[in-house]
């Protein structure tokens, strides 16, 4: 029997900043369009995690009256710091010596999850239908190979795929145009990039993992509006990464750490690097005595323009970081994701009204400020493959003297999963033991995310070869999944590879970093995963 199906003009997969901006712009341009958004989180915002210092440029264009409309954007950046950390030292870099892209004085410290909730309200007021708790799990194709829409996952299957009581079959959503806005390493986006060769002639995509905690601290430790970044310790100079510390409203500090997933040492644990980082004397004084109230992690795009795939295909567009529009030196992806969605909406309107093909998206994108930004930013990340010092010197020349206009483009040479070296050749890392005050273990951290998946359901982390972790990856790399997963989903127990998939916070790191690409992340039953508050 055929699944139930319904028709929309536009179906959007993922209610993040890109998808919501696409929806809002579409309804602004043509209120008669039928637009719906599928969201895998139990509500809008539940799966959103970001720093976040917001540049409002895209929002100013999309909803110029955001201030009057009560947008949760309150804390203007009032002070900036950049520290180079040594193990026991810190060197403050004068902000006037920072490239313009790293200056934040007109920006705001926000919770992106809350901003998305607000954007969802604006979208719903315009008549957009949003369905949280329903992951799109399958791309549907027309006979001519173009994209017909998506189907939602069947709900109520047990771990062997049998129907439980209350089983509900998935539903097909057909659309004239489907928008994929799943965020970094979307599992349908990944399938489409491969199927339509969208990354042909591009560099391999580069990723990072971002970890974040929210702390409540005392008045003395808090300086609302302070934006601080660090580089250096605890990472070695070959590992790309750094921290962010944002003093937000309500005496909260958003503190986080980003590590490039092209790191080489399989003994490295991003989670523990973040925990260790907090013990630096320049950092711990801001947190000690305070209370950690939230934790989360999410992979992010670092590849920039060189790695940006073609963003259109028959019947569909990729927007935001499902393609990869994050501006790495700016450490911002929200404004570019939003703008890419707005451009997608303009493309669709032209497509409907004047029968222009969706390739018009590329034309509009290249004319936009997003492209200019990404073009100017393109050489920063690859230069850090030469090490921290050379990276900084080059970036100074490239960004301050030439403003990103150097007449060449550096390449990303390897995909992140190719970067690991055998564990026997790399030093082990001795991480500090959790004290439950400043340094935490993974168990207490995942507890804070509110993560839950119905326990008796098919495992959503699929192994291509179930024997590979023990027969190969354990010997060669000491099974790095035990460490790169920020919440301990993967364990080796009595020479067996165990997947605790109910703890998965949907960060997608395993799908990216597994050296043999043996793990595939697919959408679990709707509503599962983290329940982030104001991340």
């Amino acid at each position: 029997m055929a699944r139930e199906a319904t028709e929309y003009d536009v179906v959007i997969v993922g209610a993040g900043p890109a998808g919501l901006s696409t929806a809002i712009k579409l309804k602004q341009l043509d209120p008669k369009l039928n637009v719906c958004i599928l969201e895998k989180g139990s509500e809008v915002g539940a799966h959103i995690l970001s720093g976040n210092v917001l540049e409002t440029r895209a929002l100013d264009e999309l909803l110029p009256k955001w201030r009057e409309q009560g947008a949760p954007i309150k804390t203007k950046v009032s002070k900036e710091k950049f520290l180079f950390l040594g193990k026991n030292s810190s060197l403050s870099w004068p902000t006037w010596l920072l490239p313009a892209v790293q200056k934040n004085h007109n920006n705001y410290i926000v919770s992106l999850a809350n901003l998305c909730r607000w954007l969802a309200e604006q979208a719903e007021k315009l008549g957009v239908e949003i369905f949280p708790g329903f992951p799109a799990s399958e791309v549907l194709y027309n006979e001519d190979g173009s994209i017909k829409g998506v189907a939602t996952l069947d709900m109520g299957l047990d771990k062997d795929g049998n129907k439980k009581d209350g089983y509900q079959e998935g539903m097909e959503l057909h659309a004239k145009v489907t928008i994929f806005s799943e965020g970094c390493r979307g599992h349908l986006g990944k399938e489409l990039i491969k199927k339509f060769n969208l990354d042909e002639g591009k560099n391999p995509q580069q990723y990072g993992i971002g970890l974040k905690e929210i702390w409540e601290v005392s008045d003395e430790q808090h300086q609302e509006g302070l934006v601080m970044h660090t580089a250096g310790w605890p990472l070695d100079s070959k590992t790309y990464g750094g921290s962010f510390i944002y003093h937000a409203e309500k005496k909260q500090i958003y503190i986080g750490y980003v590590i490039g997933l092209d790191y080489q040492n399989p003994h490295l644990s991003p989670f523990d690097e973040f925990q260790r980082f907090k013990t630096h004397k320049a950092i711990r004084k801001m947190l000690e005595g305070g209370k950690r109230i939230s934790f989360g992690a999410r992979a992010l795009i670092e590849g920039g323009l060189q790695s940006l795939p073609k963003m259109y295909m028959p019947g569909a567009l990729l927007v935001g970081c499902d393609a990869g529009t994050l501006n790495m030196p700016k450490i911002k992806g929200t404004h570019t994701a939003m703008k890419s969605g707005m451009i997608a909406a303009e493309t669709i309107i032209e497509h409907f009204k004047n029968k222009r093909t969706l390739s018009y998206y590329e034309e509009l994108f290249k004319k936009s400020w997003v492209y200019q930004e990404l073009y100017a930013a393109r050489n920063v990340k690859p230069s850090f493959s030469w090490g921290l010092l050379l990276g900084i010197i080059f970036t100074g020349i490239d960004q301050i003297l030439f403003r990103g206009k150097l007449p060449f483009t550096l390449k990303h040479k390897h995909a992140d999963h190719e970067a690991l070296k055998p564990s026997a050749q790399m030093p082990k890392i001795d991480y500090p033991k959790p004290d439950g005050k400043l340094i935490f273990d993974k168990t207490s951290s995942v507890y804070l995310t509110g993560t839950n998946h119905t326990d008796n359901q098919p495992v959503h982390l699929k192994l291509k070869d179930p024997n590979l972790p023990v027969s190969y990856t354990l010997n060669k790399y000491d099974e790095p999944a035990q460490r790169y997963c920020p919440v301990g989903v993967y364990e080796i127990q009595q020479e067996k590879f165990v997947i605790n998939s109910q703890n998965c916070i949907h960060c997608k790191t395993c799908d990216i970093k597994e050296p043999s690409q043996n793990i595939t992340w697919v959408a679990p039953e709707g509503g599962g995963g983290p329940k982030y508050g104001n991340m």
Binding site: T6, Q168, G533
Partner: protein, 249 residues
């Protein structure tokens, strides 16, 4: 026959509760909210009775702020026919809730009222009982099995000693235990259809009942942190520790 099912919006059971620093309550801003779990059992049972052909209509009611309507929408998506939202922006105690529900009952004239046995936020476990008393209807609480007969219901109750089977004449109030059934998922097509089902609006303070709160909440505190456990080597050590240190035997 007609069923009225009462649903409440509470903090989702997966969310770690945070107590406000000033002790005035718990944080609810930007916290994921859901339908109180036993209320889902109440809705599910109503829908099952409707599917058996004995019940004609299910009306879902909630009391709360505008967002509380989400719980009614969810009940509509799994099979309720129409909804009622009694608006109130402030907390109302179980007694006030029961009085409001009584007003709704007088208007709707249901044959049965299904509620969750208690709400997971305040754990009061009072509303169903108070409502039954005020209506002077029989009540069956903590129900784990419901069999509808012509003019009565046979109900198996979860009680401390085991299971108790009672029969109540209709109309009656039933409060539901989590063991009663396995609530179904709201399917996407049904959620889409539920958006078109009607929800009547009322305002709590216009119903002419006294909903003044009687209990003054002084302070909300986190429970004391549990201390780490210890491992004992053998039974003798365990007995000695229980006797001499814990002094429980």
């Amino acid at each position: 026959m007609k069923i009225l099912v009462a649903v409440k919006r509470v903090i989702d059971y997966n969310v770690q509760i945070r107590v406000k620093e000033d002790g005035s309550g718990v944080h609810t801003d930007n916290v994921k909210m859901s339908t109180n779990p036993p209320d889902d059992n109440a809705t599910e049972e109503s829908v099952k009775l409707k599917e058996s052909g004995k019940v004609k209509e299910i009306v879902a009611v909630t009391i709360g702020d505008d967002k509380a309507q989400e719980t009614v929408r969810k009940a509509l998506a799994v099979g309720a026919d129409r909804g009622i939202h009694v608006k109130s922006d402030t907390y109302i105690e179980p007694l006030g809730i029961a009085k409001i529900l009584k007003k709704v009952v007088e208007k709707e004239k249901p044959d049965m009222i299904f509620l969750g046995k208690q709400a997971i936020d305040d754990d009061c476990n009072q509303t169903g009982q108070m409502l039954a008393a005020m209506l002077n209807w029989p009540q069956a609480t903590f129900s784990s099995k419901v069999t509808l007969k012509d003019k009565s219901m046979e109900i198996v109750r979860e009680i401390d000693e085991g299971l108790e089977t009672v029969e109540v004449n209709l109309p009656a109030v039933v409060t539901c235990d989590l063991r009663l059934n396995e609530p179904r998922y709201a399917s996407l097509p049904n959620i889409m259809k539920a958006k078109k089902k009607p929800i009547d609006q009322m305002v709590a303070k216009d119903l002419g009942v006294d909903i003044t709160n009687r209990v003054q909440q002084l302070k909300v505190e986190e429970p004391p942190k549990r201390k780490a456990g210890i491992k004992v080597a053998n039974v003798a050590e365990l007995v000695s520790k229980l006797k001499n240190e814990a002094k429980v035997i």
